[in-house]
């Protein structure tokens, strides 16, 4: 399988010294310290979840002696491993090369529909009131903000309001992003 094959190729630390340590001679067996029992359990796979391939197919020279070495070798290209393991779900994260679904959108909306960055906060009610709540707003408008905003946009000539949706990831969570398009006539700007 590709995952196991990639693991073999991307483990540059399979030095001859490790190979000799992996298969110690009878004289070297006395030098192994007692608090390292996992070296003596060389046939047990320390990470059975992350290795979908049959461990017997992996050459013994590529297998790490210690868990730290195994993690170093495994962490050489973690994205490729996870993308293979998740079976295509990772494609939503790789939004750099992803073409926007709505080709007819403006540059603003295509940028909105892009995947959020890591520092993109979740715009919940607490965040909105904390960031934009410096000026007091009427309680009725806070409870039903769509009505006064619709009134304001109607005065600008942006009626009706169109909504667009796209699937996104927010903080690693899959969901749908809605984009509210308010086509305002240029003459009223």
């Amino acid at each position: 399988m590709q995952l196991g094959h990639h693991f073999v190729e991307s483990s540059p630390r399979s030095s001859p010294t490790q190979t000799t340590r992996k298969r110690p001679s009878a004289a070297d067996a006395h030098t192994i310290s007692p608090p390292q029992p996992f070296r003596q359990q060389g046939n047990t796979d320390p990470f059975p979840v992350y290795f979908p391939v049959n461990p017997t197919k992996v050459p013994r020279s590529a297998s790490a002696n210690t868990p730290r070495e195994a993690m170093r070798a495994f962490g050489s290209s973690p994205k490729k491993h996870f993308s293979s393991a998740q079976g295509g779900r990772q494609s939503f994260r790789s939004g750099k090369n992803k073409k926007p679904r709505h080709s007819g959108l403006s540059s603003f909306h295509s940028s909105v529909l892009d995947l959020p960055r890591e520092n993109d906060p979740i715009h919940d009610a607490e965040y909105i009131n904390r960031v934009h709540g410096k000026v007091s707003l009427k309680e009725a408008w806070q409870q039903n903000p769509k009505s006064p905003l619709s009134n304001y946009l109607a005065q600008l000539g942006a009626n009706p309001v169109k909504y667009l949706h796209d699937e996104i990831l927010i903080h690693g969570n899959s969901g749908w992003r809605q984009v509210c398009c308010t086509p305002i006539p240029r003459s009223l700007h």
Binding site: Y163, I170, W176, C180
Partner: protein, 70 residues
């Protein structure tokens, strides 16, 4: 991950939650001023639209546009 403790491996336990989030955004272009972009994230679409409208309304209110809300 997998740090041996006392000769045995500690199996890491992970808790993952799959949460569907909806984001609504609304852009209001203002003449001679910066555009107002209201963004709202919520579990359902209706609530995210409400939050996006609230965000845009608060920004417009800060710009002194409250007289045109009603």
């Amino acid at each position: 991950m997998g740090i041996p403790a006392g000769g045995k491996y500690v199996v890491p336990q992970y808790l993952a939650l799959f949460i569907d989030l909806n984001r609504s955004t609304i852009e209001v272009k203002l003449e001679g001023e910066n555009d107002v972009l209201g963004v709202g994230d919520a579990i359902n679409k209706k609530e995210s639209e409400k939050l996006a409208a609230l965000s845009a309304l608060r920004q417009l209110n800060a710009l002194g546009k409250a007289g045109h809300f009603s």
